[in-house]
Each structure stands twice: as C-alpha cells, then as structure tokens.
Amino acid sequence: MFSLTRQEKSVLLFIASVTLVGITVNYLQKIPRFKNSLNYITTQTNTFSKINLNKATLTDLIGLPGIGQELAQRIIDYRSSIGAFNSAEELKKVKGIGSRKFEALRDRINVGENP
C-alpha cells in the first residue's frame, strides 16, 4: 500500500516521536497540585499586591501591566541615579511613563515606608 524510502521512514518516526514527547511533557506540566480551589494559586508569588518601587527587582517590575523589560530597566536605572523614589508620582519622570500609564499603575505601586 505504501512504498516509503528510508529517509521518509526516518522523517515520519522523528515527527511521531517529537509529537509523543511534546504531548507527554505538556500533560505532565498541567497536573494540578491542589484541585478545585482558589487556594491552589496562593503559592504563586506574582500578585496584584502593591509593589515597592524602591525594592522592586527587574522581574517584579516586568510583572506590572504595560511594563516590558526595557522600561523596567529604565526605572531601575532612574532609581539608581536618584537613590530612591520619594513618591509614586516620581515614576512619571521615567521616559516612557506618561500620565495614562501612570494612572493605570497607581493602584499597584508604592514607595514603601522609608523612601
């Protein structure tokens, strides 16, 4: 019915093996630790809680909506140049953060108790 060359057989085997491994790995990653409860995600660190601009790492800042790696790095560079943020509003001085973006972030950021 099928006359396959050696190369064709190798290609088919390669595709089938990769598909099998891919599906298996993907399935294993999905197995939940805690089922059917909001609690299962409490172990996660990324939250909507406020981020202290003076202590935030690059990863923390990237976790904020609308902030990519480049902008996060610019915020850290700015913080290093001034020492620390005195107020959240000061974030607007960073290039790339306008009033609109700042308003969206206002509820998500603070400068901590000892700026």
């Binding site: 019915m1 006359s3 399935y27 409490t42």
Partner: protein
Amino acid sequence: MSNLEQIPVLTATAVFFISGILMMSFINIPFFVLLAFCLIMLTLTFSKRKKNFVFVLSLLFLCLGLGGLHLKNHLRPPRNHIALLDLQKAGNIQLGGIIDSDPTYGKRKINFVFKDKKIMSNGKSYDAQGKALVNIYSMGRFYYGDELILEGSLYRPFNFGNETNFSYRDYLQKQGISYILNVKKGNKIVFLADNGANPFKSLAFKLKHSFEDILKHKLWPVNSAVLSAIILGERQNFPEDIRRAFIQTGTAHIIAISGFNVGIVVFIFLIFLKAIGIKRKARYLVTIPILVIHMLAVGASASVVRATVMALIVLIAYLIEREPHIINSLSLAALIILAYNPLQIFDIGFQLSFISVLGIVILSPKILSLSRAFLCGLIPRMKGRKLKSSKVMLNSFAVSLAAWLATFGLVACYFRIISPVTILANLIIVPLVSLSIILGFILGLSAIACPQLAPPIAATTNFVLLFLFQAAFSLSRLPFAYFYF
C-alpha cells in the same frame, strides 16, 4: 486525480489520528495506559523499519494513539486555568488580560474574547490562564490587543435543556472559553496598554473595518449587511428572512465563509495582479500573505482555515512546480486544525466543510462522466464545440450534486431539513453570489483608488444583490422546494 487510487501516507495518518480523537471521546482510557500503548508502537516502528508492512501498520496505530493522547491533553486545563476555579467562594472578580478577538458592538452590549493573565478575588490575586467571553454593558471603544483590568461577575455558560441538542457551554468550550464575565455599568474598567496585539491579526482587523465602512456607506443597509457577512464573516446584522431563504434552498453555505469565498478571493487577486503585469510566480507569492490576512480577518473558523490551508498548498505546489494532491492537502488541513484544537472534529462547520470537499473530489468526476454519456446518448450529434460549451454548466451541476449528496445526511440530521431544490438553487445563486463578491471587492478598491467610480459600481452591486434575494425567495417558494421533519 490520477493518483487517487493510491492512498497517500498523509491521508492514512490523518484518518488514524482522527479515529484516535473520536475513539477517545467515546471510550475513557487513562492517559498513561494510552501512553504505554504509544511507546510500544513507537518501539515497534523503530525495530521493524526494514519490514515495510509492520512498520506502516505500527506507525498508523501510533497515530491512532497520538490522536487519543492529544484529545486527553487538550481536555486537561493547565494548573492555573480559570476553568479550575471554584466560583462558590469567589465574589466580584477582577480579570487582567488582553482582548483576543475583534470586539462586536450590539445594541445593549459590547462583547469580545478576553485572554486572562491575572485574576483577583476576595482581595487576593493570582496568575491565570484561559479565555473568558466578556460582555460589557456600558459605552466605550475597545480594540483587539488592548490590555485591560475588568471588574464583574464571572459565571459558567448555561447548558440548555434536553429538548434542544445545542449546549452553549459545549459550544464555548470548543473555542477554549470556560467562563463569561459580565461587566455592568459602574464596574471598573482600567485600560493598561494597547500593545498586546499580533501585528498580522491587527492589520487584518483594520483592513476589515475599513472595508466594512465602505460597504456601509456605499450600499443599502440590507445589502451591506449581507455582503459584510459573505465577504467579511460579520453575520450579526444578517436579515433573518434572507437567512431563512438561503437555508430553505440549501445555499446557506454562501453565508458561512468557506472554500467558495476563499476561491473567489484567490481568483480576484490573481486576476488583479496579472492585470497590473506581475509575473506568474510573483503573483502566487503575493497571494499567499493576502490569503493569511484574509483568514485572520474573517475569523479563522474551521471552514476558512481548511480552505486557506488547501489554497496555500495549491499555490505553493504551483510555485515549486509540483502537482497538488487535493486529498493530501485536505488531510494536512485537517491535521493542522485538529492539532490546534481537536474538539473541532465535533464542529458542524468542520464536518460539512471536509465532507463536501471529499464529496466534490470523489463524486463529481463520476457524475460528470455519467452526465456526459447521458447527454451524448440523448443528443448523438452533440459533440465537439457544443459539448465544450455545455461543459461549464455540466461542471457546476456535477459539483452542486456531489456536494449535496455528500452533505444532505448531515444537514438533515443537524437542521432537520431536506431541500430537493438545492441543486437548481446552487446553479442560480452561486453565480450571483460570485458576481456580488467580485463587485464588492471592485467597489472597495474603487472607493479607495477612484471614488468617482464608486457610485455606479455600488448601484450595480445593489441591483445584483436585490436580484439574488428575489431568486432565493422565489426558489424557496417553489412546490416541494424543502421539507422540515
């Protein structure tokens, strides 16, 4: 079709993969049992590479197992999927994410698919995955790719009673949507950014909106609603009486964008590119991205993806000067769609689309030769030029009859209607719709390039569409045109 007798390996693979999906939807075999079966088959294929028969047989059984594994994997949501949330404990919820579809604006609400990234409930927030259908009951302008935080009540879609076969929950589940978020007046909507869009999809939606605006401004309201549905897949304003006439005459396939529409798009662009003097291979190269943008713009339903993949394969085959194999390209299209979402196998659009193409490919050459023999027997002198002139008519008849024969069982089962008038209706309505689509595209181009030409083209389009509606109404009123049961 010379090599149709030989079953290509791709087709056999697709058949076994599909069988695996279907088998797994009826029999519940644990994932790891199926995985063990696949590993045995894989070992067998590796060890028996020199024995052709054993190799092929174990490879096909491996594909069967892979189909089942793929469905099992697809049905299990990721660890932080919103489908796993226990809503009994959740009050008002805030969802953070990106608009993943082109928003539609109804009379009372705006709705779109929302790709979730964060969820906040009872003062806690978490990373989340999954999609929700969002209904916003207030004014506003939203665009595909907008990043938002939305506040509202989240609930599971309804499952309707046993008296109807339709389950809204299953319908949304097939699209990966597990919840509906209702954002009422006064609920918080925070705009975060507008950079979450796929640039191709974004461009496709922009072009669609521009085209839709042209149709709205240049044509009568009913005509613009119908042409928007046929060309752009925007069916929310489609007039109910015209829809009913198309269903009764068995020509509703023209409303759902399918191979027919994609074929016309390819035809129009190839002719246009030829007219402006572009060489043959360059024409095919230019048409390929146009087809992808068209697919994204009209919503990438199963029938559009099927038609686009097949058209792309044919174009690429011509580019590299190979003979396209229709059944193989159909199999590849099925594998691509099912790899993305195996639940599409249960979608009526998927089933009708693939079965009608199979019907046309397998049955229409036989019908054509039978009709020719019948015609030659009826009119012995009808040879040469006369026979050639009737070829177009015979071809259309054969395609319509083949598609009807292949699909009428499914149509009767799903819609409880049989339309004997279908073959005649297709012979009349399909050319009219083709003409309307071509005029619609010319109208769009002329409105941009030469606005002075647009009014006469719009008038012609209005007239053709009016004629089309009258034809559909008249055909549906013929005696024994259709039966509901």
